[in-house]
C-alpha cells in the first residue's frame, strides 16, 4: 500500500488516533464520533468515509468510501447544467480536489478494480480540465488574490500532482503550482484577506494546510513561515488571523458580509501542528465546538483534517485570549478573564462595490460575558433597510440567462457602527488609496487610536481629521472617543447597531441581550440626542433584528466620548449537564405521553452536551428525547441554559410545555437561556426535552450533520446596579456603579 498523499506515516496516524481513543482524550472522542457516523450512516456522512476506510482498512469501511466516491462522480455531469458550476466554479473546484484525493487514497490501498479505477481517474481529470483549469485561466495573474483563485489554483496543482502520469495533469500542475506561492504572498502581512470571517475561515484558512503541504512535498523547503512576494504574505500569519477571529464566546468576529458564524478547526489544528504557540492548542482542546460539522472549502471534512493535523499529546497548559493589533486591519482589546472583548476594525474596503470587503472605518464590535452586544452581517431577503438609492447594481455574469439586480448598501458605511457625515449612508470609496492609518496602540494599556480621514475626505474634501480611540478601562468597561473635524460645518452622526432589546436609560441608550447582558452606551462628551430605529431582518442571524442608533451633532469639530458599560445580570449556580436519560426517536412518532414509558424501558444515561451518538455507541438518528430532574434554587429569577443548535426544540417542565419559540433563530449561534416560571423556584422539577440533531451532511433537515453543543446550567439573577454616575471633567472620567468607583485620566484627541 502506498502512503496516502498528505499523510507521511499512516501507521503513526493510526497509532495516534488509537491511543487518543483508548485514553479517552478529546481527540479520541472526536475520532470515535466520526468513525461511528461513517459506519452507522455512511450515506449521510459521505465526507467521513474515505478517512475512516484509510484508518481502519476494514472491508465495509472501504466499500462505504468507494460508494461515496462513485456517488460524487455521478453528480459531475448533471452539475454541468447548474448555475453553480458554470458561474461559481471555484466552489466546485475545492471539493473536487478533495474527492480526487480520496479516490487517490483508495487507489493507493488497491481497492478498485482496474477498469473502474481507470474510468473514475479519467472522469475526475477531464472534469478538472474542462471546468477548473478553464476557470483558473481567466483569473488575472498576479492581480487576483482571493478565496476563489486559491481554490482554483490549488485544485489544479493537486490533481496535477496526484495524477502526474497524465499529460493534462502535468499541464494543470504547471499553471496551478506556479501561482500558489503568490496567492499566499499576495495576502497582506496581517493575514487577513479582506473577505470577512466566513471566507477567511471557510476557504482561505482551510486551504493553507493543503497549499503549504503541497508546496513542501513538491518544491521542498519550509513554506509555512516563509514571507512571500508580492505583498509579504505568510501562511503562518493567515493561520494566526484565523485564530484571532475566534472570539472568547465561541463565535467568529462578525467581520464583513455574513456576520457572526461558527469557527472551523482544521486550520487551527494545522497551526498547532506547525507552531509552538499554545493558543492554537487552547482553541482545539478548550474552546472548539466539535459537534458542529462546519463546511470548509465547500465540503464537510473539517473534522477529518483536524484529526490529521491535531498534534499528539496536545493537552498543554491553558493559554489565554490576548489582545492583538494588526496595523493594516484592526485591534482587539480583551480583558484578562476574556469576558470583555472589543474589536475596532479599519481594514480596507473595496471601491465602488463593497460587497465583500465592507466599508467599516473604525467600526466597533463589543462582546461581554459571552454575549454579543453589537451586530453586523447581512440582512434577510425581506429587510429593505439598507437599500440606499445610490447603492443598486445589476450584473449579468452571475446567473444563467438573466441579470441579477441587488443592493449592496449593507456593505457601505451606513451598514456599520461608524461615523457618518451629512446622512450619506451609501458611504464608500471610489478609487484605490490608503484608507486608514494606525496612530497608536498599546496592548498593555489596552487602547488603540486609528485615523480614517482619507475615506471621508474623498467625498468631503474639507475633512481634516476623522479618528476613533478605544480603551478597555480597568478590565471593567470601555471608553470610545470619536473626533470628526472639517473646515466647513457638517451634520455628523455616530451610528451603532446593537442587539434589539432596548431597556430604560436616563442617558444614552441601554440594551439587554437575550443572555441577560446589559450595555449602557452614553456620551460623556458630545450631545445625547439620538434616534433609535428597530431593524427587523438585520442581521439575518442571531436575533434576526437589531437597533439602529444614530446620535447626531452639527459643526466643524464634532466630538463624542462614549462610556460603554457592560453588566452581566445572571450568574451560573448549578451545572445540570450530566445524568440525562436519553431515548432515540428514529421514526419521529413519539409524543410526550408515549415517551414516558420508553424512558423507563430503554433510556441511556448521557450528558446533554453533544448528541448521544457522538458520545456513545448509539443510533445515528435525528430526534432525541431527554429527561432529568433539577433542583431549582429559591431565587427572584432563574433560567435554564441549554446547548446551542438543538433543532426543533421542545421543552416540558412537570408536564407543562414551555414556549421556547423566541430562541429558535438565536440558538443556532448561542446557547439559549430559558426563563423558568416563578412557581418552580425552590422546587425539584421534572424536565423533558425533545430536539433534533443534524444527522446528514446533505439530507433535508440534516443541518449539514451538525449536532447540538453546550453545557446545561441553572442561572439566577445577580445584582446589576448599572451606571449610577458618569462624568467627564478636567480630563478625568468618573464612573460609579454600586460600590465601585473608577477615576480615569483621559485627554481628548487633538486635531
Amino acid at each position: 500500500m502506498k502512503q496516502p498523499f498528505y499523510i507521511d506515516d499512516l501507521a503513526e496516524l493510526r497509532e495516534k488516533l488509537s491511543h487518543a481513543e483508548n485514553d479517552g482524550e478529546l481527540m479520541g472522542r472526536v475520532w470515535n464520533s466520526v468513525k461511528r457516523r461513517a459506519r452507522k450512516a455512511p450515506e449521510k456522512f459521505p465526507w467521513f468515509t474515505p478517512f475512516v476506510a484509510l484508518i481502519t482498512g476494514e472491508k465495509d469501511d472501504i466499500e462505504n468510501a468507494k460508494d461515496a466516491v462513485r456517488n460524487y462522480v455521478a453528480t459531475m455531469d448533471p452539475q454541468s447544467f447548474g448555475m453553480g458550476l458554470q458561474f461559481h466554479f471555484w466552489c466546485f473546484a475545492f471539493p473536487h480536489a478533495r474527492w480526487s484525493l480520496y479516490f487517490h487514497w483508495l487507489a493507493g490501498m488497491e481497492v478498485w478494480e482496474p477498469e473502474e479505477e481507470k474510468e473514475i481517474r479519467e472522469a475526475l481529470l477531464t472534469f478538472q480540465y474542462i471546468n477548473f483549469f478553464y476557470g483558473m485561466r481567466t483569473k488575472p495573474e498576479p492581480e487576483c488574490v482571493d478565496n476563489q483563485t486559491m481554490s482554483l489554483c490549488f485544485s489544479n496543482a493537486l490533481l496535477g500532482h496526484l495524477f502526474n502520469e497524465s499529460a493534462m495533469a502535468q499541464r494543470m500542475y504547471t499553471d496551478g503550482i506556479r501561482r500558489l506561492p503568490s496567492l499566499i504572498g499576495g495576502m497582506p502581512p496581517s493575514g487577513y484577506s479582506g473577505e470577512g470571517s466566513t471566507y477567511m475561515d471557510a476557504v482561505v484558512g482551510p486551504s493553507i494546510p493543503f497549499i503549504v503541504e503541497l508546496l513542501e512535498r513538491t518544491e521542498g523547503g519550509n513554506w509555512f513561515n516563509k514571507t512571500l512576494p508580492p505583498a509579504s504574505g505568510n501562511a503562518e500569519a493567515i493561520c494566526r488571523m484565523i485564530a484571532r477571529e475566534w472570539m472568547p464566546n465561541g463565535l467568529l468576529l462578525p467581520w464583513d458580509h455574513y456576520g457572526y458564524s461558527q469557527p472551523v478547526r482544521s486550520c487551527v489544528a494545522y497551526a498547532a501542528h506547525r507552531s509552538a504557540d499554545p493558543f492554537y492548542g487552547e482553541l482545539l482542546e478548550q474552546q472548539a465546538n466539535w459537534a458542529v460539522d462546519q463546511s470548509i472549502g465547500w465540503g464537510f471534512d473539517d473534522l477529518i483534517w483536524s484529526l490529521i493535523w491535531w498534534p499528539k499529546n496536545n493537552c498543554q497548559d491553558k493559554a489565554t485570549f490576548k489582545s492583538w493589533c494588526e496595523p493594516e486591519v484592526g485591534a482587539a482589546l480583551i480583558s484578562d478573564d476574556a469576558q470583555l472583548y472589543l474589536m475596532q476594525m479599519w481594514d480596507e474596503s473595496t471601491p465602488h462595490f463593497p460587497t465583500r470587503a465592507h466599508v467599516n472605518p473604525n467600526a466597533i464590535v463589543l462582546t461581554a460575558y459571552g454575549s454579543p452586544l453589537t451586530v453586523d452581517g447581512t440582512p434577510d431577503k425581506d429587510c429593505t433597510a439598507f437599500n440606499y438609492d445610490d447603492t443598486w447594481r445589476e450584473v449579468s455574469f452571475m446567473d444563467l440567462g438573466t441579470t441579477r439586480k441587488f443592493n449592496f448598501g449593507v456593505g457601505c458605511g451606513g451598514g456599520h457602527s461608524v461615523i457618518l457625515v451629512d446622512k450619506w449612508e451609501g458611504m464608500r470609496a471610489f478609487s484605490e488609496y490608503p484608507q486608514s492609518t494606525l496612530i497608536a496602540a498599546s496592548l498593555d494599556e489596552k487602547s488603540v487610536i486609528t485615523d480614517v480621514t482619507p475615506i471621508y475626505k474623498e467625498r468631503f474634501t474639507d475633512a481634516i481629521t476623522v479618528r476613533r480611540r478605544s480603551r478597555l478601562i480597568e478590565e471593567r468597561f470601555w471608553l470610545i472617543e470619536d473626533l470628526a473635524s472639517f473646515t466647513q460645518p457638517h451634520e455628523v452622526g455616530a451610528r451603532f447597531f446593537l442587539r434589539p432589546q432596548q431597556i430604560d436609560a436616563k442617558r444614552g441608550i441601554s440594551v439587554e441581550t437575550a443572555e441577560g447582558v446589559r450595555l449602557s452606551l452614553l456620551p460623556l462628551v458630545g450631545p445625547d440626542s439620538s434616534k433609535v430605529t428597530p431593524i427587523k431582518g438585520y442581521p439575518e442571524r442571531l436575533d434576526g433584528a437589531s437597533l439602529l442608533v444614530d446620535f447626531t451633532q452639527q459643526g466643524r469639530e464634532c466630538r463624542w466620548l462614549w462610556l460603554a458599560f457592560p453588566e452581566a445580570t445572571r450568574e451560573v449556580v448549578q451545572d445540570v449537564s450530566g445524568e440525562w436519560y436519553a431515548v432515540p426517536d428514529a421514526e419521529k412518532n413519539q409524543d410526550v405521553a408515549s415517551i414516558l414509558e420508553l424512558f423507563f424501558q430503554q433510556a441511556t444515561m448521557v450528558s446533554l452536551t453533544v448528541p448521544p451518538y457522538m458520545q456513545r455507541n448509539l443510533p445515528v438518528v435525528q430526534r432525541w428525547w431527554f429527561r432529568r430532574t433539577i433542583n431549582v434554587p429559591a431565587a427572584t429569577a432563574s433560567w435554564l441554559r441549554l446547548p446551542k443548535q438543538m433543532f426543533n426544540l421542545q421543552l416540558w417542565i412537570n408536564g407543562e410545555i414551555v414556549d421556547v419559540s423566541s430562541h429558535t433563530m438565536r440558538m443556532n449561534l448561542l446557547e439559549p437561556e430559558i426563563e423558568l416560571p416563578a412557581k418552580f423556584f425552590g422546587t425539584e422539577i421534572d424536565v423533558i426535552i425533545c430536539c433534533d440533531a443534524g444527522d446528514s451532511q446533505y439530507g433535508p433537515d440534516g443541518h449539514e450533520g451538525s449536532g447540538f453543543y453546550g453545557k446545561p446550567v441553572i442561572l439566577v439573577a445577580q445584582d446589576a446596579p448599572g451606571v449610577e454616575f458618569a462624568d467627564y471633567q478636567d480630563n478625568t472620567v468618573i464612573v460609579r456603579s454600586g460600590k465601585n468607583e473608577w477615576i480615569v485620566k483621559h485627554n481628548l484627541m487633538e486635531i
Binding site: Y72, D77, G82, M83, E122, C144, A167, Q170, S396, L400
Partner: protein
C-alpha cells in the same frame, strides 16, 4: 487513440513539441466532433505558439460563435458543490443531446482559442476582429470576454486600444482587469 480522453491527452502531451506531424494532428483535432477534444487542442496550440495554427483557430471562432452556446435556461434541480446526493434535472421539452453538449461547453472552446492567439502573439485581421467582438460581447460568459482582453493585451496592437478602454469599464472584475493590463501605463 480512440477515446475522447486519449485525444485530449495527445494534445496535452504534444503541447511542447515542434514537429509538423503532431501540429497537423492537433489542428485536425480543432475540428473534432467532441468539444472537449477541440478545447484540449486549442490549449495545446496556445502552448505551442505556432502561427501556423492561426487559420484553424479563426475557423474555430467562426464555427463556435454560430452555436447557441449561451442559450440554456435555468433548470429545476440542483445540489451543493461537492455533494454526493443524486441529482435529476428537468430539461425543457425537445432538448436534444446535441443541445445539451452545447450547454455543457458554453464558452470553453472559445476561451481556449482566444488565449491561444494571445500566446501565439500574432493575429490576422480576422482573428483580431473576433477578439474585439468577444472582448465586449456582454451576452457571452465573462470567461470569454476576459480571455479576449488578455489576448489583446498580449498582442499589444494599437488599434485594439479603444476596445480595451471600453472593456476596462466592464462590470466584471476579471474582464476589466485583463483589459487594463493592455492599456498604457498599467502597473499591477
Amino acid at each position: 487513440m480512440n477515446t475522447v480522453f486519449e485525444k485530449m491527452e495527445y494534445c496535452a502531451a504534444h503541447a511542447a513539441s515542434n514537429d509538423s506531424v503532431t501540429l497537423a494532428n492537433i489542428i485536425a483535432f480543432l475540428r473534432d466532433d467532441n468539444w472537449r477534444v477541440r478545447y484540449a487542442a486549442a490549449i495545446a496550440l496556445g502552448d505551442r505558439r505556432d502561427p501556423q495554427a492561426m487559420p484553424a483557430l479563426v475557423e474555430l471562432f467562426e464555427s463556435e460563435s454560430k452555436e447557441p452556446l449561451f442559450s440554456q435556461p435555468e433548470l429545476h434541480g440542483g445540489i451543493h458543490a461537492g455533494s454526493t446526493e443524486s441529482l435529476t434535472l428537468e430539461f425543457p421539452e425537445g432538448t436534444t443531446d446535441e443541445l445539451k453538449e452545447i450547454w455543457r461547453r458554453r464558452g470553453r472552446v472559445l476561451q481556449a482559442a482566444c488565449l491561444a492567439i494571445g500566446n501565439i502573439g500574432q493575429a490576422d485581421a480576422a482573428a483580431l476582429g473576433y477578439l474585439h467582438r468577444f472582448a465586449l460581447e456582454q451576452s457571452y460568459d465573462y470567461g470569454i470576454r476576459a480571455a479576449a482582453c488578455k489576448a489583446l493585451a498580449q498582442l499589444a496592437i494599437p488599434e485594439s486600444l479603444p476596445i480595451l478602454e471600453l472593456a476596462a469599464k466592464d462590470e466584471e472584475w476579471c474582464t476589466k482587469t485583463e483589459a487594463k493590463k493592455g492599456l498604457p501605463g498599467y502597473t499591477p
